[in-house]
């Protein structure tokens, strides 16, 4: 029974982190139709910035804010000064599909190299702001701590804010319109280029949050979030790649599948489980679980 409760709780907190990364990927995909491999690098970079802030101030909370804000700024800068010029120049042919993605891969390498140059490649660590000791249930200590709870609360809060932004504000409407139809958005007078940059900024902020919440349980090194990028990507595809709620649900599904298979069957199943879930979902619903409906009838 305790094992089951533990599995549920850790599924939630793992899934929440995967969801953050998935949301970052979906935000960029929706706004520019790019799969942003650099997201792992951006998130690590902002986490290193957070790490430096902790060194200077001793405060995880100030570091968290700085990481999220710098994540947004870095995302915006990448879109404005790196991706936008590429899109302006590469306009037709099959290269249009592949060039931006390859560019983000290159960017990932560049960012990781810069991190190595500035901070070195040895493992660093960030101490969690609250206890990482597991709670006690019926006399046994379980693998779910105050810190895991904090992660859940933060992810829920971030999801809520993002949903309100998208559904209740003018900026959210501009973000949605530009994602679904950049052309109609432009013809309606919406500055789609700026809206795209905003999408990258939001994604960067989510990546920054993901890094600061994920790293305290692990180590910080230039490739620290590569695995999380892959899981976030899988979660995003499970959710249909277009939908923010889908990304969240995809992250949670992945969290439960991975934790339950590794808890009850074998710890070796971590990676296979992720891909098995992905393949099952794609076989049953090729467009993902939460792909948006477009037209009436067929």
């Amino acid at each position: 029974m305790t094992q089951f409760i533990t599995a549920v709780l850790t599924s939630l907190s793992s899934g929440a982190i995967y969801a953050l990364m998935a949301i970052a990927i979906v935000l960029v995909w929706r706004s520019t139709r790019v799969i942003n491999f650099a997201q792992a690098g951006q998130a690590v970079l902002t986490t290193y910035i957070g790490y430096t802030v902790i060194q200077r101030t001793g405060s995880f909370w100030i570091a968290l804010v700085v990481a999220v804000v710098s994540g947004a700024v870095i995302g915006a800068v990448i879109d404005r000064f790196f991706m936008r010029p590429i899109f302006k120049r590469v306009k037709s042919g099959p290269i249009v599909m592949i060039a931006p993605v390859v560019a983000t891969l290159g960017l990932l390498g560049i960012i990781q190299a810069i991190i190595g140059f500035v901070w070195g490649i040895t493992n660093q660590s960030i101490e969690a702001p609250v206890s990482t000791g597991g709670y006690k249930i019926m006399g046994t200590v379980i693998a779910f701590s105050s810190y895991n709870l904090l992660v859940l609360v933060f992810v829920a809060g971030a999801m809520l804010l993002l949903t309100l932004l998208f559904q209740r504000t003018n900026i959210g409407l501009a973000l949605r319109a530009s994602a679904y139809s950049p052309e109609i958005a432009k013809l309606s007078g919406i500055k789609v280029d700026s809206v795209r940059t905003l999408g990258w900024a939001l994604a960067g902020a989510f990546g920054g949050l993901a890094g600061m919440l994920y790293i305290p349980g692990y180590f910080l090194y230039p490739n620290a979030m590569d695995l999380l990028l892959v899981l976030g990507f899988i979660a995003a595809v499970i959710g249909g790649l277009e939908s923010l709620f889908g990304a969240f649900a995809g992250g949670m599904i992945l969290g439960f599948a991975i934790i339950f298979s590794t808890t009850y069957i074998s710890p070796k199943l971590f990676f296979p489980t992720a891909f098995i879930v992905l393949i099952l979902v794609l076989l049953v619903k090729p467009a993902g679980l939460f792909a948006p409906k477009k037209n009436r009838g067929a």
Partner: protein
Amino acid sequence: MSLIVEGLTIDHGAIRAINNVSFKVPQGQLAAVIGSNGAGKTTLLRTLSGLKEASSGSATWNASPILGKRAEDLARSGIMHVSDGKSVIAELSVKDNLALTGLWRKDKKDVKAATNEVVELFPILGQRMSQSAGSLSGGERQMLAIGRALIARPKLLLLDEPSLGLAPLIVEQIFQTIKSFVKSMNLTVVLVEQNAMGALKIADQGIVLNLGSVVLIDSAEKLLNDPAVRSAYLGF
């Protein structure tokens, strides 16, 4: 106050879609650009609204140049393009579709007034506000696309085949509605159509386009009565 197009040439790679086209639409007039499929009508409008680059020539609206400006800036300056294919965003609600052209406008009171006018013009939209635009019929989508443009309080309206794919009765209704609001709002309009008859009936001026070149420009009335035009484009 007028739209002046001079020597406009537009290419799609090696394909010349518009070849040395010139015409003028005075303020408050409706020009119908007619021509068969592939004549270059859509390409012409896409260039006038900033979606596509021209190869050479010029286009000015109220003496300020159009070419080289961004689509969103032209839209904000009062040039509204209702593109082909009943341009609505299927995933958004009718209400959200209508809201798009009001997002950037400073005068929120007038956005509200304009929205009310559009709902008066197309009452069906008022009943469908919370439905997704994708659930609308073809005619309703066309009304939504036009309504969205009108909420921007445009001065120059570019309409791409509003009648395409609609039932004859709806086509007649759409043309009559266009005619009525164009007059009451004092709009300048370029109406692109394969339905030459329907378009010329509500137009002041007719421009006949064939394979990217202008073959005839005259008053709509004269074109409607021209035997050559009748046999070539009107089918009787």
